[in-house]
Amino acid sequence: MKKHKIGLFVPCYIDMFYPQVGIATLELLEKLGQDVVYPPKQTCCGQPLANSGSEQEALATYRNFVCNFRGFDYIVTPSGSCACHVRHHYAILEQTEDVKKVRETTCELCEFLTDILQIDDLKIRFPHKVGIHNSCHGLRGLGLASASELIQPRYSKLRRLLEKAEGIELVELDRNDECCGFGGTFSIFEPDVSVKMGKDRIDDHERNGVEIITAADMSCLMHLEGIIRRQKKTIQVKHIAEILNCNSL
C-alpha cells in the first residue's frame, strides 16, 4: 500500500467531546501504514459559522485551517460534513496554490480508504446489528453513497467497508437517507423540528432491530445520542472509525 503524508483534521466537536473518534481515526490510518501528522494548532473548518449565514466571520478560521494543512498529500478527517465544507465553501477564499491544494486533497475517512487506499476489507470482527446513518453532506455533497432521490446505480462506501466485518449484520431501514435534523445551528434555531427529525430517525433504527447506529459524521450522532440519552433508550451510537479500528483479526 502506498504511503501518503497525511494531515489529520479532527473536527472541533470531536476534539472537544469525542476524542475516541479522533484516536480511532489516527490509529486506523497508522495501522494502514500511513504517515500521519496532527497539526497541533488546528481548530475548526468554520462550517458552524458559515451555515448560520456568517461566512464572513468564518474567514479567519478558514485561513487558520489552510495555514495548518498545507503541505500534505491528503488531509483526512472523520467527518463528511467538514470535508464537504472545505471542498465546496472554501471557494470564497482567494484561490492561492495552498487553498486549491487543500480543497482538492481534503477527504472524508471512508472515501480515503475506499478511493485512495482502495481497500475495503479491514479484517475486523464486529458481531452486532448495525444501522448506517447516511449523513447528508457526506452523502449528497461528497457522494459517499448513492442518494435515494437520484436514479443511479446503488452504492455505499460505508457499507463496502463494513460489510466485510466478521459477524456484522447491516440492517435495512425504512428510510435509508433521511436527515437526522442536526443541521448545525438548525438544531438550536429550530429545536422542535430538529428533535422530531432525530426521534424519527432513531425510531426507524429501533423498529428494524438496530443495536448500534453508525455514521461518518459524529455531529449527527451527537444529536441522536443526546435524544437517546434523554429518552433513556438502549440503542447506541458509534462513529464508523471506531468500528473500523476495532479488534483486528
Binding site: D15, P19, G53, A60, C136, R140, P191
Partner: protein, 455 residues
Amino acid sequence: MTTHARRARQFLANKSRADWHDRTLWFVRQKRDRIAATVPEWENLREQASRIKKEALANLDVYLEQLETEAIRNGVRVLWAKDAGAFNRIVLDIIRQHGAKNIVKSKSMLTEECGLNRFLHSKGIEVVDTDLGERIIQFRQEMPSHIVLPAIHLKKEEIGETFHEKLGTEKGASDPSYLTQAARRHLREKFLAADMALTGVNFAVAETGTVVVCTNEGNADMGVHAAPVQVHCMGIEKIIPKQEDLGIFTRLLARNATGQAVTTYTSHYRKPKPGGAMYIVIVDNGRSKYLGHPKYNDSLKCIRCGGCLNTCPVYRRSGGHSYGYVIPGPIGSILAPQKDVQKYRDLPFASSLCGSCSNVCPVKIAIHEQLYFWRQDLTRQKRTSFIKRFSMKATGFFLSENTRYNFIGIMARWAIRYVPRGLLYLPFNVWGRGRELPAPPAQSFKQWYRRRVKS
C-alpha cells in the same frame, strides 16, 4: 424563536397529526422514486429540462414577444401585468368587459400569489375554485399548505365537516368517494353556469403561442369548454421555446409531483372557441428583478411540481402553513425572500440544508445552495437578530485561533461536568430541551495527542 420555528412547534404539538402528515407526503415521495426509476434516462431528462429553462430565461425577452406574436396570430388577446395590482385590475377589467357573473378558476399559484380572489371579492365578484383541494380550502378560508396538494393538512373527517356545512352532506360522513361525489355535483353546477374560466399555466410554448395546463381532475377543461371566455394567467418564467421541448417537461412534472406517469389531463389551449374570447395575462410581479441575479435566477426555472416539499424533512414536520408564504417548503423559502426579504427573512433558516430538495428537483435548482446564499445575504444586510450576529462574531473569534479555541473546549467540558444540572439545563440551553449534552471526556483529542507525542 423565529416565526417558522414557533409555528412548527404548534404543528408538532399534535404528534399523531404531524406523524400522519409526514407519512402521507413520504408516501408520495416513494411513489415518485418508484416511477422515476422506470425512466432510465431520468437524470438526463433533468439535465435537459434545466438547460432548456436556463436558455429560455436567458432569452426571455425574445421568447415572450414571440409568444405574444404567435398568440395574437391565433386570435388570442395578450395582456401584460407588471405586478400583482396590475394583474388583478386586468382580470377585473376583462370580467367587467364581458359582464361575467359566474367565474370558475382552476389551480393557479400565481393567482394565489397575487391575491386575486380576495381582490375580486372586495369588488363584489366571487370566483369558484374548481380544483377539489382548492375548493376545500376556499370553503374554509385557508391558505393552501402545499402547491400541488393544497388541502394536504386536512384529514377526511375535517373535510366531511366542511362539506356538511357548505354542501349539506350527511353529518359525520367522511367517506372520500361520497365526499368527492358531493363536490362533483356541486362543481358541475358551477361549470354549467360559468361564463368565464380562469386557469393557471404550466407551460407557455413560444413557438406556437400555446398555453399548456396540466390537471388531474379535468377541471381546467370543464371550465374552459363551458365558458365562452377563457383567461390564462402565467408568470413570465413559464416560457419554453419549442413544442418539442414540452415532452421533456410533461414526462418530469407528474412523475416528480405525485408519482404518476402523466397528469390525467394535459390541455393545450391555442385559440378562442368560435364566438368566444381567449386571453393570456403575462405577469412579472418581481420575477424580472431576479432574472439577472447571478445566484438567485436559477429559482425561476421552477415548474411548481412540489417534489421538494414532499421530500423535505422539515416541511413534512412543520406543515405548509408554518412558512407563512403562499409557496411553502424549500422552493418557497428561496422565492419568498425575493418578494419581501424583511418579512420572510427567517425562511432560509428553516432548513437543515440536507440537500434532498436539490436532488429531487426536476429542473436541477440547487435549492439548498440558494438557501445557503440567502443566509449569507441576510446576515450581511443585518436582517438576522443582533444576538445571533453577535454570537457568531464571538464564535468566529474563538474558533479562529488555537489558544482561544482550546480555552472554549476546556470551559465547555468543565461546565458540563461541574455546573449543577438544574442550572445547566435552564431554558436558555435550547439544545437541552429534547437532548442531553455530550458526556464530557477527561481530555480532548488535542490533550491526548500532546501526551502521546511526549511519551
